[in-house]
């Protein structure tokens, strides 16, 4: 503390005193000496002359001061002086400093962390040279470019260079250990085209990695190199086994490389070739690439857009079947941040977070503003004296603002500690998914700049009103005022602050409890399949060893083997686990009926007995049979929602659907069950026979083996795992109970609810601190009045209720305002709180109760103190 004071003192002196001071002194001394010498020449003695010269000159110190005043920069200097003053006076109010630091620290901390995380997600620019000159390209039908289409785009010359990439699952095998890693198949020119270099070794070049050369080259991400290879530099030129093939490791990417895939960061980069993307040479969308183009010098984006559209139209004309819908206007967008594919939900949640976190900061600021207002009222006498001594209004405002900025920076200090910690917590949060999403955010420069900005904003926010109020001080009135402190008239501002705080925390609480309610509702909803007797194994096959119907045959062997396990009642295969964060959709049409282009439905490719295994009742028709093989008539099963949507009032069984010839016959209808979300309304699902869609099974998608057990499924996990390893020990796989496997949605909601719930708690706490402050202050201000009342015989009960009533009135007003605001807000987020109405009465009533209770507690303590007022002491104060 002393050190800081010393620093200020030194700084002030350094800035002003040392040099100017010496110069002024020298100059005036020169004058006086010269004058004295002249006087000596006129005949005075040197002593007399020196004295006379001084007398003639006048008040030296006064003139020095005037010289100084013309020199110094008063604003800055006064600011320094005010800072020292503010520091001293704040040291005498430790409670104010504590509450302000905590409030603002919380507010600034959580907001800094949130904005830091959001900017890391949404403003992230993938590593590449000149990202502003690179655009992402999508055909108008929201498909991706197949490799052949990509080639045509590259050859068209619209762009200086076009690169493509596709995520793919790779089995990384070393010895008997097989690990599934996230791969990115990239076109041969990917690294060169984007200007990406390796930090160790090298990247592959356009010539050596072209698909025709059967390239077996790999570049590792830094994380994969560390995790899998212990950061050993000897990994270069090593041969690794990916999907059963030998690949040569060429290099390792830099540690802070930001991949083009956004938050999903691939472990291994391999060239696009038939080795990793089996149906490379089919024009259809099966193996689409995410495509980026480097603009030719000074080509305007809109021109590029129309050129791409023109090319896509030509591609649709030439390949009408494979490129259906390509004629729609192509989409060209910048590579910065998440590439928004029109997903409103993806935007809605972050916006909601920003608003809610902002509310917390507002509550925190109004807390501090309330405290400063009270302090300003208490210091009116002091201000009056300063005004009387010549301080201007601006000067008073400045000194008050400096105090609030000082508090804000203390808060920002605490807040940045909190933010750094929060960011570290956030950066390790992974969403349970097939592809773990990692928010690798570093507490970097941006974060501190954000913190600083928020501190400045909150300093201004909480300081400006009290400062303006305090500066309007009536000198005479104040100086004359001695004992009488009846200041209730001035309280309306603090009261409205508290009402605002309560209202804001009502909004926070309502929204967070809606999320919580939605979570609880979701957790108890029946997904339409049996959660208690199922296991699911996710198998990552090496695609090249299971070409054609190889995967289907493998699946049959697994099922055969699993069926022999005593605990297992039935087993089946599927391509999608419902509610696991994964989905698969495709276009389809009903035979003999023109359907709108792009009608899509959810898909699942399942084997016979899937519905038995999952406990989904078959309503009409039949299940798939082993005889539904490739070559036999193609058959599908639909759910009720599909029947309702496309065959209302008719029987779907016997009808034909599909995507062009050959159409598949609907042989059965099953009961609805959840697919992507438990809370959603039943959506149409089309079940294909797994054995009949070999092309789908050879994609780099895992194979799901579902098993139904008689008793506790957990007991069968090990035997199922052993059965799979026995058949092929080169398969990467994991076995979970169906309940564990389908918690993706719940996990996401849990995360959201935990986040919003803690936010609501923080907001409530801050608002209650504010309420407590106001009521306590009002009690202090009303002490004489209460004293008189009690002297006149008011019971302490009456006093208690009168004070409580004041606090509760504020809570009630805040509650009313907050509820109205909440009603306006909640319907905007109806999509995010599936299963719960935005006007859920339980939520609103619960929030009101919680607030009434906490409001009562916050007002009780000051009210209790009011009853202890001794009338005599109180009156003597007067």
């Amino acid at each position: 503390m002393r050190a800081i004071k010393f620093l200020f003192w030194r700084l002030a002196h350094f800035v002003r005193r040392s040099r100017t001071e010496r110069e002024i002194g020298d100059e005036l001394a020169f004058h006086i000496q010269s004058r004295a010498e002249d006087l000596v020449r006129q005949g005075l003695s040197s002593t007399d002359a020196a004295r006379q010269a001084r007398v003639d000159f006048g008040g030296i110190e006064r003139y020095k001061e005037q010289c100084r005043d013309t020199r110094s920069v008063p604003v800055f200097e006064n600011a320094l002086r005010d800072l020292v003053y503010a520091w001293r006076s704040l040291r005498r109010s430790p409670i104010l400093v504590l509450v302000a630091t905590l409030s603002l620290g919380l507010g600034i901390g959580v907001n800094t962390a949130l904005l830091g995380a959001l900017s890391a997600i949404f403003l992230r620019v993938p590593t590449m040279t000149d990202p502003a000159g690179v655009v992402a390209i999508e055909p108008g039908n929201s498909d991706q470019f197949s490799f052949l289409n990509y080639r045509d785009l590259q050859d068209s010359g619209i762009f200086a260079d076009v690169v493509g990439s596709r995520t793919t699952l790779l089995n990384l095998r070393s010895g008997d250990n097989v690990e599934r890693v996230d791969g990115l198949a990239v076109t041969a020119n990917f690294f060169e085209g984007l200007g990406i270099r390796a930090s160790l070794g090298r990247i592959f070049t356009r010539d050596e990695a072209s698909p025709e050369r059967d390239p077996r080259l790999a570049v590792l991400s830094y994380a994969c190199w560390q995790r899998r290879f212990g950061g050993d530099p000897a990994v270069l030129e090593r041969v690794v086994n990916l999907n059963g093939q030998s690949f040569l490791v060429l290099g390792v990417l830099p540690q802070h490389y930001r991949p083009v895939t956004g938050l999903m960061s691939p472990d291994v980069y391999v060239p696009v070739s038939a080795l990793v993307l089996p149906n490379l040479n089919s024009r259809g969308n099966g193996n689409g690439l995410a495509v980026l183009g480097r603009l030719r010098h000074q080509t305007p984006p809109h021109q590029v857009q129309s050129e791409v559209t023109a090319l896509a139209q030509q591609l649709e004309r030439t390949y009408p079947r494979e490129n259906e819908g390509f004629s729609l206007p192509a989409r060209v967008f910048p590579v910065r941040g998440m590439q928004m594919r029109g997903s409103a939900e993806l935007i809605a949640f972050p916006v909601l977070l920003i608003v809610l976190f902002g509310l917390v900061l507002l509550i925190a600021c109004s807390n501090v503003a309330g405290l400063l207002l009270a302090r300003a009222t208490a210091r009116r006498g002091e201000f009056a004296i300063r005004v009387a001594l010549g301080a201007g209004r601006a000067r008073l405002i400045q000194s008050m603002l400096i105090e609030s900025f000082l508090l804000a920076f203390l808060g920002a200090g605490a807040g940045s500690l909190l933010a750094v910690w929060l960011v570290q917590v956030l950066s390790v949060v992974t969403l349970p998914n097939h592809q773990p999403v990692q928010l690798s955010i570093q507490p970097d420069f941006t974060l501190y700049v954000l913190g600083l900005g928020l501190a400045l904003a909150s300093g201004l926010l909480c300081g400006v009103v009290p400062a303006l109020r305090a500066s309007k001080v009536g000198v005479v009135a104040e100086v004359q005022r001695t004992g009488n402190r009846s200041i209730t008239g001035r309280l309306w501002l603090r009261h409205s602050l508290v009402v605002g705080q309560v209202a804001a925390s009502v909004v926070l609480l309502v929204i967070s409890s809606l999320f919580l309610r939605s979570l609880i509702r979701t957790a108890t909803l029946n997904p339409g399949f049996d959660l208690d007797h199922g296991l699911v194994a996710t198998l990552y096959l090496e695609p090249n060893r299971y070409l054609g119907d190889g995967a289907a045959l493998f699946a049959e062997r697994v099922l055969e083997r699993v069926d022999r396990i005593p605990e297992v009642r039935s087993g089946s295969v599927a391509s999608v686990i419902p509610l696991a964060g994964d989905r698969s959709a495709a276009r389809f049409e009903v035979q003999g009926r023109p359907t709108a282009t792009g009608a899509r439905t959810y898909l699942n490719n399942v084997s016979p007995r899937y519905f038995d295994t999952m406990g989904i009742p078959l309503l009409r028709g039949r299940d798939f049979r082993p005889s539904d093989r490739p070559g036999s008539p193609r058959v599908v099963i639909v759910n009720e929602a599909f029947q309702r949507a496309y065959f209302p009032g008719e029987d779907a069984v016997g009808r034909h659907v599909g995507y062009g010839e050959p159409f598949s016959e609907i042989v059965g209808v099953v009961k609805d069950s959840s697919y992507a979300s438990v809370s959603e309304a039943p959506t149409p699902v089309l079940y294909y026979s797994y054995a009949q869609v070999p092309s789908l099974s050879t994609q780099a998608r895992p194979l799901m083996v579902h098993v139904r057990t008689d008793g506790d499924p957990g007991a069968a996990i090990r035997s199922v795992a052993r059965a799979i390893a026995d058949i092929d020990n080169k398969v990467a796989f994991e076995v979970k109970t169906i309940r564990e496997a389908t918690t993706f949605e719940l996990d996401v909601r849990r995360l959201g609810s935990a986040l919003l719930g803690s936010l609501g708690g923080v907001g409530l706490m801050l608002a209650m601190i504010g309420l407590y402050g106001v009521v306590a202050y009002a009690v202090a201000a009303r002490t004489p009045e209460i004293g008189i009342r009690m002297a006149l015989g008011a019971s302490s009960e009456r006093v208690l209720w009168s004070v409580l009533g004041q606090g509760l009135r504020l809570v009630g007003m805040g509650l009313a305002v907050g509820s109205v605001l909440s009603l306006l807000v909640t319907h905007l987020i109806a999509d995010l709180i599936g299963g719960v109405s935005p006007t859920d009465p339980v939520t609103f009533a619960g929030t009101a109760l919680v607030l009434a209770f906490t409001g009562l507690v916050a007002s009780y303590f000051p009210a209790r103190r009011a009853t202890l007022i001794d009338p005599l002491t109180a009156l003597r104060q007067e």
Partner: protein
């Protein structure tokens, strides 16, 4: 010595500019020069000279430089800047207008109004 006159507010600056316009001077020199220019009739409070000098320097009308005086001491010298020269011209013109107007006004007799 003639009769001494007190300075009108605002005239000190003009006198300083004028004094310095005749050649580079230190503070004491400015005082002496003003004395010479007015024939000793103007009573300049000695100390008051310095805040005025500092103010004019702050306004960019004067330049300063440390040098050595005739009596071999370190002294701060003032010189007119271009802006100072311009200001001197304007103020002089203004002053002359004012004195002319004042003179006319004070000479006025009832019948001329």
């Amino acid at each position: 010595m003639g009769q001494e006159v007190g300075l009108l507010p605002g005239t000190l600056d003009l006198l300083i500019l004028k004094a310095v316009s005749l050649g580079q001077l230190h503070g004491y020199g400015v005082l002496l020069r003003i004395g010479q220019m007015s024939g000793g009739a103007l009573d300049v409070e000695q100390g008051a000279l310095y805040p005025a000098l500092y103010r004019l320097e702050g306004q960019g009308l004067l330049d300063t430089e440390w040098g050595v005086s005739d009596n071999n001491r370190k002294a701060k010298y003032y010189r007119l800047t271009t802006a100072g020269r311009k200001r001197l011209r304007e103020e002089t013109a203004g002053w002359q207008r004012l004195t002319a107007v004042m003179a006319t006004a004070l000479k006025a007799r009832l019948e001329e109004i």
